[in-house]
Structures are given as structure tokens and as C-alpha cells.
């Protein structure tokens, strides 16, 4: 066997891992018939008991969506999607609002246990409040009382519509209007549930707020909607993590996350995305078409995105910052790992509108198997946004000869006082590094994990502690093979 072939085999073997979180939970699920029309939109709104203004919002979004077409500009090969072959609402059936863990469906709790996120443990040990979303309806929200003392609102968006209609009405669609793009319009029409966070003036949220998403019912699109508002001088760290069960049909996921950051407030949003990526031959997997955007509206406001993306068959996602406030700061730290036949087109937009606004982009792509991994980023500085700065670092690591890494940076600077820097590298994991580790007694699988984690370190250190550990394991698991 020649040298090149040999090293290729080692890496291939170690990267042909199977998805570890593939299982389907048997829960009596309420699913409406497939198809999308105004009646479906009205049905979703009525089953949730929504006010008239929200139904209007949904209908306007639906009508607008009908006039739109799927975006085709990304470096993705997306099979045709029949939007009438999807059911737009599924809710796990259960008795009204569980008040304690005992009232939560045992099947559901088992699922969370398998994912290693038992609510009890999370509640007791980590002090993380969990708003667990299983399919479309929030199942259990914890620590609400403690947060309530501080005036922090952390609940499902359905509850927020009911209990805090003025806040929701004021901010919903203010950062991502339903006209924004095809998937945003679709989400605005049929969004099922998601999280709502409001941090009042001057409050530093004492715990990390966390949501676990999970797509469960077969053939059901999932349309989360998250809205986070950080009022003046407040701070919150929000964690989003997901795994999905294994199945063959492709599943569409089109979420929206909107964040509003007021004067001197700071929001840190961290994601570990581990949805089912499809099997080794590219069969199945989640289509993840997400619109995430934050508006740094206030002066000296700051928004920091950190994402570790290892799942989904296709990812189309650009968490962005609109830096409207003077001296506002936007950050984007990303690790995107693709393996087998996964495709990712992900990056960010930093829109500088305020004077002296600053942004940092650090993107680390990792491509294995036959996957395609693209970074796409826009840095735009408006004419009046003087003295802005952007620093972009964009690295690609290739683990196979059959995978691809691509970079599409767009830079648009409209004044002379701003400075924009862009650095990019592409490297290959090499057999010498692996053999060096082997010689010191470290197995090939562990060596690849070590090397990949070392490469992604700069981003992983931005994650909250517990999440960072999980993310490190996830990177290794996503590349792990059937060795031994």
C-alpha cells in the first residue's frame, strides 16, 4: 500500500462514525395533515389561542412567502423540497402544564436521559434553567421562579404571547422581518414554538439560559422562533443545543432567532448543533435553514455568537450582527464540521451602521469524507459609520481528498476611516501528525480528536465551560469511526 493511500485509509476509518444519538421516542404525537395553505396557518394560530394581530402577522408572512422562491445562491446542492408534503404542526400530547418533574411523560424524560441532559441533574447541579422543546410545544420550563424575582422573563414564545403580548408585539419581526428571506417568511407564517427571553434594565442574568431542541415526529417540519431582548445595561448568556433522532426522511428545519441589544447591554449566544447528519451514504438528515440575527441597537452594546456545528445534512446559516449603536461590538466564533455527504454554507454578516463599531469573525471549517464546507461572510461598513474595525480570520482544515472547503468573503466599506482585515488559511491534517501521536502511545482516533480540537481551540474557549467540554467530545464523536 503506498503512503498516501495508507494515510487516507487511516483518516477515513476514523471518520466513518455512526450517529450516536439516533433513536425515536414513542410518544403519542398530535400531527396535523400534510400541506400548507391559509387554513393551516389559521389552524396553528387558533390551536395556540393567539390574538388577532399575530394571526395577521402569520397570514401576511404566508402571502409574502407564496411570492418567493427558494434561494439558490449558496454553495449547496439542495434536492427539491415539496412544501406541501410536510406537516406544519406537531405537539406531544400531554396533560396540561406539568408542575413538577413527576408530571413529565416518562418516555420524554427517558429521551432526555439518553441525550445526557436529565432535567433533574441540570436543575440540581448546573443551575442552568432549561426550556426543553420537544417538537413544537415547550415541555418543561425550570427556574422560572428564581428568574422572576429579578424580572427576567424566560418562557416559551407561546406563553409570552399570552402573558407579555406588548413585549412580543413590539419586538417580533423587528430584527428579522418576514420579508427577509424565503425561510424567514415560512417560519413567520407557521412558527410553532420557541423561547422568549427578556432581561430588564440593569439586570445581569445570574445563570446561563439553555434550550434543548429536539425534532421528533416523523415528516414534521420544525419552525422554532426565538426572541431575546436585553434592555439597557443588562447581560445574558444563552445556550442552544440540539440532537435529533435517526430517521430516513429528510426533515426541514427553518428557525428564526432574533436578538435585540439595547444601550450597554451584552448578549452571548452559544450553539452546539448536532442534528442527525444523514448516514454514511448521504441518506437522510436534517435540512437546517436558519435565520439568526441580532440588532445591537444601543450604544456600547455587544452581541457575541459562538457556534459549533457538527450536525444536519445541509446547513444554511449566517448568525449576523447589525451594529447600529455607536461603539457597538459584534463577534462571531464558529466551528463547522462536515463529514460523509454533509453540506454546510455558513458564516456571518457584520453590518456596521454605528460609528466606532467593531467586529471580529473567527471561522474554523473542518471537512471530512465527501462533504462540502463553505464559509460565507459579509462585512459592510456604511458611509456614516466612521472609524469602524473588522478583523476576520477564516481557516479550513481538510481531512480527506474527497471533501471540499470554500471561502466566500464579501467586503463592502463605504468610508475611509474604517479598517477591515481578512486572513485565511487552508491546511490538511497529515499522517506525520497522526504518527507522531501514535508513537507517543496515542491512538489514531484520539489523535484526530486532539488535532481537531487543537485547531478549533480558539473558538471552543469562547463557549461556556460545560458546553466547551460537550463540544470537544462532539467534535471527536463526529469524526470517530468503527475502529476497535
Amino acid at each position: 500500500m503506498d503512503k498516501e493511500q495508507n494515510s487516507k485509509n487511516i483518516i477515513d476509518e476514523a471518520t466513518e462514525g455512526e450517529y450516536k444519538y439516533g433513536f425515536v421516542t414513542n410518544i403519542d404525537t398530535h400531527v396535523i395533515p400534510k400541506g400548507l395553505n391559509e387554513d393551516v396557518v389559521r389552524y396553528i394560530s387558533s390551536i395556540k389561542g393567539e390574538p388577532e394581530w399575530l394571526l395577521d402577522f402569520r397570514l401576511r408572512a404566508y402571502r409574502h412567502w407564496q411570492k418567493m422562491e427558494m434561494p439558490q445562491w449558496a454553495h449547496l446542492d439542495i434536492p427539491p423540497i415539496d412544501f406541501n408534503d410536510i406537516s406544519y404542526y406537531a405537539a406531544p400530547k400531554q396533560k396540561e402544564g406539568p408542575r413538577s418533574m413527576d408530571e413529565v411523560d416518562p418516555e420524554l424524560r427517558k429521551t432526555f436521559d439518553k441525550l445526557g441532559i436529565s432535567l433533574e441533574e441540570q436543575m440540581r447541579l448546573s443551575g442552568v434553567a432549561v426550556d426543553a422543546v420537544m417538537d413544537s410545544v415547550s415541555v418543561k420550563t425550570t427556574y422560572k421562579e428564581r428568574l422572576a424575582e429579578l424580572g427576567v422573563i424566560f418562557c416559551s414564545i407561546s406563553e409570552a404571547v399570552r402573558d407579555y403580548p406588548d413585549l412580543v408585539k413590539r419586538y417580533l419581526g423587528s430584527v428579522v422581518p418576514y420579508t427577509d428571506n424565503f425561510y424567514a417568511a415560512l417560519n413567520s407564517a407557521v412558527f410553532s414554538d420557541g423561547s422568549f427571553v427578556y432581561i430588564p434594565k440593569g439586570v445581569r442574568c445570574p445563570m446561563e439560559l439553555s434550550t434543548y431542541f429536539r425534532i421528533n415526529a416523523a415528516d414534521t417540519g420544525q419552525f422554532e422562533r426565538t426572541l431575546i431582548v436585553a434592555d439597557d445595561d443588562s447581560y445574558v448568556s444563552y445556550l442552544e443545543g440540539c440532537t435529533a433522532p435517526m430517521r430516513d426522511e429528510n426533515q426541514l428545519h427553518a428557525a428564526i432567532v432574533e436578538i435585540v441589544v439595547e444601550d450597554r447591554a451584552m448578549v452571548k449566544y452559544s450553539t452546539v448543533q448536532n442534528w442527525y447528519p444523514g448516514d454514511k451514504d448521504g441518506k437522510g438528515g436534517i435540512y437546517n435553514f436558519v435565520t439568526k440575527r441580532g440588532l445591537c441597537r444601543g450604544d456600547f452594546s455587544k452581541l457575541s455568537w459562538t457556534q459549533v456545528e457538527t450536525g444536519s445534512a445541509i446547513t444554511w446559516k449566517y448568525p449576523s450582527c447589525v451594529l447600529a449603536g455607536d461603539n457597538s461590538v459584534g463577534e462571531f466564533y464558529s466551528v463547522a464540521l462536515t463529514n460523509n455527504y454533509q453540506q454546510a454554507d455558513t458564516g456571518t454578516k457584520m453590518i456596521h451602521l454605528g460609528k466606532n463599531s467593531r467586529s471580529t469573525i473567527v471561522s474554523k471549517g473542518i471537512s471530512a469524507g465527501h462533504s462540502q464546507n463553505s464559509y460565507r461572510g459579509l462585512v459592510r461598513v456604511a458611509p456614516k459609520a466612521t472609524n469602524c474595525r473588522n478583523y476576520t480570520q477564516c481557516d479550513s482544515l481538510l481531512l480527506s481528498d474527497t471533501s471540499g472547503a470554500h471561502t466566500f468573503p464579501y467586503i463592502d466599506v463605504r468610508n475611509d476611516s474604517s479598517v477591515v482585515e481578512h486572513e485565511a488559511t487552508t491546511s490538511k491534517i497529515n499522517e506525520e501528525q497522526i504518527f507522531y501521536c501514535n508513537q507517543r502511545g496515542i491512538s489514531t482516533e484520539d489523535a484526530i480528536g486532539l488535532i481537531v480540537n487543537g485547531y478549533a481551540k480558539e473558538v471552543l474557549t469562547k463557549l461556556p465551560m460545560e458546553f466547551a467540554v460537550e463540544a470537544q467530545k462532539l467534535l471527536q464523536v463526529s469524526l470517530e469511526g468503527s475502529i476497535g
Partner: protein
């Protein structure tokens, strides 16, 4: 005393080209062997094959290491069994700290022998002790593996790792290349400090210089994939004086080429 390493008629090739054409070598505990020879004679290939580098294919022969079939073991098991290779060109691993790297290595070895992982404080204490042997700066130990290290620092880092892993057999592949005289003295000093009656060392070098500091018991000359001459330390001095041409002539002449 029984042999630690017994190489018998070892043949190996890379990319279809035969490099080792029948190596025979016996190393006993407590011995230092020097392997010398002109460029391209197969010295580094021998080191790589013994360590199990998958880029090389063994096509014949046997290697017994502490009574076990070395060639049947994975590279990591060879390491666990006590074989250490000091690389001619130590590899950089960006973002992976020396501390994490060494801890992974040490704990894998402990696992192999059914021992619990070292506690963080015991591990750091061990790091401190071993660092002193090669005068490795604390700053280097906290940096990424070999990243931004000078040539001398890389070689010193190799010997540091050797000290950490306490191998039975160390193979030093051109450890002297790229070293100035001070670095050479430090590195050789480290190797000598680690020498015991129970371990052995194979020093691969092109020049006699290193052998002033690491005294060999036996010197072998490798040429065209075979060991063509074996002698005491004085052989190295002859080679220093006369070069390799006479060896080439003698060997090629004998074969009637």
C-alpha cells in the same frame, strides 16, 4: 543477558522501492548502539519501521522486542511496550498544548498497564521533574506541541518526552542535526542522565560528533539497506577521518559491481 531487541533479516519498502534489504541487529539492556552511514542508506527508514510508521511496508524478516513480536503491534502499543523514537523532524500540532499532549500519552500508557490516570497535581510534578533533565523552559512546556520551537528546542522537547515516558529502548534519529554545540551538549547530557542498566539506546547519526557525548558500545555502518560493518567506538573515529567512500568501495567491490 537476553536480548531486548532482535532484528532478523528485516526487509522493508516505501512506495514500492526496497530500502531495507536484510537488517540483522541485536541490542541488549544497558547497551548504546550507534548506526552510521551515508545519506540514503536506510538509517531513518530503520527507525521508522521499528516505530511502525504506516508509510513503510515490511516485506520480510522478524523483530522481537522483549520477547514479543514487534511487527505485529500497532505503533501505539510499541510505544506502550517501551519503544521511543526521537524524531529527526518533530511534528508541530497547533493548538494542542504540550501539557495536554503529554497527559494523553502518559495516561494512555497507564491505561495499557491497567493503572489509573495520574492526578493533575502528580502529573504537573512529573512534568517539572523531567523538564529539569533537559533544561526545558516552562514556557515551552505550556506552548502548543513544537509550534514555533527552534530546531534546538524541538530536539530538547523530544528528549523531554523520552524522560516522561521512560522507554526501554530509545531510538534517536539524527538528534544532532541542526544543533549548535551547546544544544548538542544539553541534549546529549539529557540522554546520558536517562541511561540505566535496564534500558538501551540506538543513536542514528551521520556524524561522529554526537558520539563524543553519547558513548556507544557498538558502531554499525548501514549502507544500501544492510549493516556492512560493525565495530567498537573506534570505528566512528575512522569514519570521521576517512569518510564513507572506503566503505562503499569495499562493499560494492566485494559484490563485484
Amino acid at each position: 543477558m537476553t536480548a531486548m531487541l532482535e532484528i532478523n533479516d528485516l526487509h522493508a519498502q516505501v512506495e514500492g522501492k526496497e530500502i531495507l534489504k536484510g537488517i540483522n541487529l541485536t541490542v541488549k539492556p544497558g547497551e548504546v548502539h550507534a548506526i552510521m552511514g551515508p545519506n540514503g542508506s536506510g538509517k531513518s527508514t530503520l527507525a521508522s519501521v521499528l516505530a511502525g510508521n504506516p508509510a513503510f511496508t515490511v516485506t520480510g524478516g522478524t523483530v522481537t522486542f522483549n520477547g514479543k513480536d514487534l511487527l505485529a503491534m500497532s505503533p501505539e502499543d510499541r510505544s506502550h511496550e517501551g519503544l521511543f523514537l526521537s524524531f529527526q523532524y518533530p511534528v508541530e500540532i497547533p493548538g494542542v498544548s504540550m501539557v495536554n499532549f503529554m497527559r494523553a500519552a502518559i495516561n494512555e500508557k497507564r491505561k495499557y498497564y491497567g493503572q489509573e490516570p495520574l492526578s493533575a497535581s502528580d502529573f504537573l510534578k512529573l512534568m517539572r521533574e523531567k523538564r529539569a533533565i533537559v533544561e526545558l523552559d516552562n514556557k515551552l512546556a505550556s506552548r502548543s506541541v513544537n509550534e514555533g520551537f527552534s530546531g534546538g528546542e524541538k530536539k530538547r522537547n523530544e528528549i523531554f518526552q523520552m524522560a516522561m515516558l521512560e522507554p526501554r529502548l530509545s531510538i534517536l534519529d539524527e538528534t544532532d542535526s541542526g544543533l549548535d554545540i551547546d544544544a548538542l551538549r544539553t541534549v546529549a547530557g539529557g540522554v546520558n542522565k536517562l541511561k540505566t542498566d535496564n534500558n538501551a539506546t540506538i543513536v542514528i547519526t551521520h556524524y561522529q560528533r554526537l558520539l563524543d557525548y553519547i558513548k556507544p558500545d557498538l558502531v554499525h555502518v548501514l549502507y544500501k539497506g544492510r549493516i556492512v560493518k560493525t565495530g567498537g567506538p573506534e570505528l566512528a573515529l575512522v569514519l570521521e577521518d576517512k569518510g564513507y567512500d572506503w566503505i562503499k568501495q569495499e562493499f560494492d567491490g566485494n559484490k563485484g559491481e
